[in-house]
């Protein structure tokens, strides 16, 4: 023990330079940025008092002192890897190994001294930084117990999070014997490595062309350790500290064990343990084979099992040889280790064979109805993208601020604080259960059956397809007929079989050709229940206000404070109206408004963006008579186009034509109510349209329509933007005025 402390003291002195550099880095990344952000916030608070509440500065301080500060994550992850590299390098050089291992000290003692040095430097630097941040906050006059608490939690989270990442990177250093392989292995252990992502995507692209993970799982599967650490910083960082400690201890114990087993002669080779060479080589060669096959597939735009199989096997073999060279830095080694090469190819072939059944029929797989337990379908073009769930650390008295943009007001910055956006895909797939297995089977069959046709509808010589498709050409430029004919829907399917297996597929199907089955599916009660799960699961007691956004397409944001009873009535009315909502209405009709259910009253809007309090968002269609009736009790009015036109003071249009040598521009202003009415009938708001009826057919020209409203509900913006509706004909006067 005495020797350990002696060595530790020596190591701390010898590596002081690195410690100081790390300290400077932390100071700049945390303290300096913290002071800059808070100073800016103080400045804005002074300059624009109406835009900020009294709680603004304390909240900013709490947030930036806490783990929510993104530099906290950057510092911890980067220094964890860097210090591990520094502390392990003595094991990768023959001279240093000879020096340290000939000393009258156990090699684990030497290792321990260096290991602990790496932890002490970070802990000391981060603690000093924390103290400086407290001093800085006190000098600004805003030091509170709360700020100190969140800063302290960040300190503890940082130290143990760092130790966890550091210990994994040190393990990588122990298993390898050169700096390069150390970095590679450390990256694999800890960071989101492009290779892992490429492996995932290549694997999916090769064998699971229509496979898709749930969105949240993607990052977790790429890099569990760093994802875990990032996740831990939510809720201000107090969660998972115990996990960090336990994991750090376990991995540290493993490190000491590996250190003991590690041979001293393992220097300047790729790996420290020869036993790892074969499995790693096989693993990497398969990875490279998959990635390479994926890349080849992308380059040549070919499909078919045979191409994948051949390219995969060839690339696996080539990769295996290349890896042999890299591992041994010996070009002559290409011909050595033939058994590993054979093993790589054999294993790849075996994997291919195992997957062959799936690969062969993967894209067109469609289970029979009797095999299906239930299914969920997400149709991207019809989805309600505005779905949210309350954050786990939701605290109405202490909202979180995470902002480094110096120009936003408090109101603008607060978006997303209380609720976090949930991908509609995940929400729908998790909550939809279509037990009508016959319907599910027919829908799946339709998707699987059209897969090849849609995928290969790109114009090319082979299929003589000269028509532009929705994929080939920007949707905005398709004329109505072309659009309807070529519109494809993106589908993600989740199917649970009676065998217990759940699988995912994604498809692209032609809307017109599959209209009947899409219509049948979207009309089913089970589908709607899943599609509108956010609405059905909404807790009415939390709702304090509703906002009707983009009312009548023109950004009329109207707010009403409501109580629980009114919320229940609205929820019931919407549920009833939804039952009769048809596919045609969803695709061909623009909604009247987008209704947001907020958990804070409208007055909170002064300082806090109400979008950050949105629990549920739904569209209200013209046929939602029940909903419109209830909204009418609140004072919401339905407008005819004539009434709307009365509210508009003028409309500006700008037409640009760059088909000639120079860009031609024509500006017009309309105040005549009849003309305003015609333009209103011609335009739509794309943000509310499910099928994106808005669009302009000519890629060489553009038409901007700016609508100036003078009514009481006009937003702060000077004008609203109107988008030409591709299903409607342009008014003649407009064509004439703009020389179209």
């Amino acid at each position: 023990m005495k020797t350990f402390f002696k060595l530790l003291k020596k190591e701390l002195i010898l590596n002081l330079g690195f410690g100081i550099l790390a300290f400077v880095y932390i100071i700049f990344a945390r303290l300096v940025t913290y002071i800059a952000v808070i100073s800016n916030a103080l400045y804005r608070y002074k300059m624009y008092p109406n835009d900020y509440s009294a709680a603004f500065i304390p909240r900013m301080i709490n947030s930036n002192m806490s783990c929510e500060n993104m530099f906290h994550i950057i510092v911890v992850i980067s220094l964890g890897g860097l210090f591990a590299l520094l502390m392990c390098r003595y094991l990768h050089n023959k001279k240093t190994v000879d020096f340290y291992h000939s000393l009258p000290v156990k090699k684990t003692t030497v290792f321990a001294a260096k290991y602990v040095t790496g932890i002490i430097y970070f802990a000391a630097a981060y603690t000093i930084n924390y103290l400086f941040m407290l001093i800085a906050t006190a000098s600004m006059g805003y030091l509170t117990v709360s700020a100190a608490k969140y800063g302290f939690i960040a300190l503890i989270n940082g130290i143990f999070g760092y130790t966890m990442i550091y210990s994994f990177c040190v393990l990588a250093g122990l298993l390898t014997a050169t700096v390069i392989t150390h970095i590679v292995l450390a990256s694999i252990f800890t960071y989101i490595l492009p290779l892992v992502i490429a492996l995932k995507e290549a694997w999916f692209g090769l064998f699971f062309v229509t496979y898709m993970y749930k969105a949240d799982d993607w990052i977790a599967n790429c890099s569990p350790i760093s994802y875990f650490f990032v996740k831990s910083t939510e809720n201000r960082g107090s969660r998972y500290i115990l996990v960090f400690i336990i994991v750090s201890l376990i991995v540290s114990a493993i490190n000491f064990g590996v250190c003991k087993l590690r041979r001293s002669e393992a220097t300047e080779t790729a790996l420290a343990f020869r036993e790892l060479i074969a499995p790693l080589r096989i693993f990497f060669s398969i990875v490279c084979g998959v990635c390479g096959a994926f890349i080849l597939n992308e380059m040549f735009n070919k499909d078919g099992v045979s191409v994948f199989a051949i390219s995969f096997i060839i690339l696996t073999a080539v990769s295996s040889a290349v890896i042999q060279i890299i591992f041994r830095f010996d070009f002559g080694a290409v011909l050595k280790g033939k058994r590993y090469l054979a093993a790589s190819v054999a294993l790849s072939a075996a994997l291919l064979l195992i997957s062959f059944v799936s690969v062969k029929n993967y894209n067109t797989y469609a289970p029979k109805a009797e095999k299906i337990a239930n299914a969920a379908v997400y149709i991207a073009q019809l989805a309600n993208d505005e779905s949210y769930k309350k954050k786990a650390d939701y605290n109405p008295d202490e909202p979180a601020y995470m902002d480094y943009d110096f120009n936003f007001t408090e109101r603008e910055m607060s978006e997303g604080m209380y609720y976090e956006w949930v991908g509609a895909q995940d929400s729908i797939l998790d909550n939809m259960t279509i037990t009508d297995s016959d319907l599910a089977a027919r829908f799946i069959s339709a998707c699987a059956g059209t897969y090849e046709d849609v995928m290969f509808s790109m114009p090319n010589e082979e299929n003589n397809n000269t028509q532009p498709t929705a994929e080939a050409v920007d949707d905005d430029f398709l004329k109505e007929n072309d659009y309807n004919k070529n519109l494809v829907y993106d589908i993600v399917l989740k199917c649970r079989l009676k065998s217990g297996r759940t699988y995912y597929r994604s498809y692209r199907i032609n809307f017109s050709e599959n209209y009947d089955i899409i219509n049948e599916l979207t009309a089913s009660e089970e589908y709607k229940k899943g599609f509108y799960n956010n609405l059905y699961n909404m807790d009415c007691s939390e709702i304090k206000c509703i906002g009707l956004d983009n009312s009548y397409n023109y950004h009329r944001n109207i707010y009403y404070n409501i109580d629980e009873d009114m919320t229940e009535r609205l929820k019931t009315a919407l549920s009833e109206d939804i039952k009769n909502l048809s596919l045609d209405e969803m695709t061909d009709t623009s909604p009247i408004a987008c209704i947001n259910f907020h958990t804070a009253p409208w007055e909170a809007n002064k300082y806090i963006n109400l979008y950050s309090n949105t629990a549920v968002t739904e569209f209200v269609y013209p046929t939602f008579t029940n909903t419109i009736k209830v909204l009418g009790e609140l004072g919401f009015k339905t407008y005819t186009v004539d009434e709307l036109a009365e509210e508009i003071s003028h409309i500006d249009t700008s037409y640009n034509d760059w088909s000639g040598e120079t860009t031609q521009r024509k500006d017009m202003t309309y105040t005549d109510k009849d003309k305003i009415k015609e333009i209103l009938e011609y335009t739509t708001s794309s943000s509310l349209s499910r099928t994106i009826n808005s669009g302009w057919s000519d890629p060489n020209t553009s038409l901007e329509i700016r609508i100036y409203s003078s009514d009481a509900y006009a937003s702060d913006m000077e004008f609203f933007t109107g988008f030409p509706d591709r299903t409607k004909a342009m008014p003649d006067f407009l064509k004439k005025d703009l020389d179209i």
Binding site: L7, D98, H101, S102, P104, S264, E265
Partner: protein, 300 residues
């Protein structure tokens, strides 16, 4: 006493040491000589506890060296390329060694540095190769260990410095019974200082003997036989390492004592004969050639 028992060590496909057994007495200089790739450095590293042998063990005073700090404090290893901390000075290194070698004599270290004109606070990175070797030797001596393992230490030292180091070793041997174990190709230098030698060849021990005894058993003679006399026949009872002929002059290296060779020479009534002193190098070459390591084959 250092005992090496049946030590074998391989590095992947290369057998570096094959069943090496050696005993190294205390208070005498042991020379570890051998051909290129014989395994000298590997053996020293095993003796230093850096490498673990696949079989056999290295013991000092009956205790295994590997991962045994108590026993490792008995020796100091000077590798062929010593490591010094970046931006360090002799003082820094000495402090480090002082923390692990209980008996490190800092005062002696400072004195020896000034004797060798090495600055205590000068950056080691500015030292020449020879100066670094000097520093290594000084550190080893000041650590006051029982044994010092030197791997090619004399290479890089100028002749004056070599002599100085040899004197240092001799003085320490007298004072406290230091046992230097020196691995080197520089046989001329070893000849002056070594008392015992171990001769490694292709991972095995060719011989391990007292140098004086070794010299006693090999003899070199130049002889001009009388007319009609066959030189080979005159010395046929001895093992001949080498027999060169230049005109009438024969030079033979024989495994025999001087007395035996002289008696045989006289018996053949030569015109002329002379017993020549053998250098360690000549002994080494002879033994190597016997083992199949032929210089002539390398250059032909």
């Amino acid at each position: 006493m250092i005992k090496l028992k049946n030590i074998s060590k391989s590095f992947e496909d290369i057998k570096a040491l094959d069943n090496v057994t050696l005993d190294i007495e205390e208070a005498s200089v042991f020379g570890l000589i051998g051909t290129n790739g014989a395994g000298k450095s590997t053996l020293l590293r095993i003796m230093s506890g850096i490498l673990k042998p696949e079989s056999g063990c290295a013991e000092i005073d009956g205790k295994n060296v590997f991962e045994n700090p108590e026993i490792k404090s008995e020796f100091f290893f000077i590798p062929d390329e010593a490591y010094f901390f970046k931006n360090s000075t002799p003082k820094t290194i000495a402090d480090y060694y002082a923390s692990v070698y209980k008996n490190f004599d800092m005062k002696k270290f400072e004195e020896m540095l000034s004797v060798f004109s090495l600055g205590m606070k000068r950056k080691i990175s500015t030292f020449s190769k020879g100066m670094k070797k000097q520093l290594s030797v000084i550190l080893a001596i000041c650590s006051n260990t029982k044994y010092i393992y030197c791997d090619e230490t004399f290479d890089g030292l100028d002749p004056v410095m070599r002599q100085a180091v040899k004197s240092l070793f001799a003085s320490e041997m007298d004072l406290r019974g230091l046992t230097p174990i020196i691995a080197s190709h520089n046989l001329r230098e070893l000849e002056d200082i070594c008392e015992n030698i171990g001769y490694l060849h292709k991972g095995g021990v060719l011989l391990s003997r007292n140098l004086t005894d070794l010299k006693l058993n090999i003899c070199k003679i130049q002889i001009v036989p009388s007319e009609g006399r066959d030189v080979s026949a005159a010395f046929s009872s001895f093992r001949a390492y080498k027999h060169e002929t230049r005109g009438l002059l024969h030079t033979l290296t024989l495994q025999a004592s001087i007395e035996e060779v002289e008696a045989a020479a006289k018996a053949s009534s030569p015109i002329f004969y002379e017993i020549l002193p053998l250098s360690l190098e000549e002994i080494f070459i002879s033994e190597a050639e016997t083992a199949g390591y032929s210089i002539s084959k390398l250059v032909s």
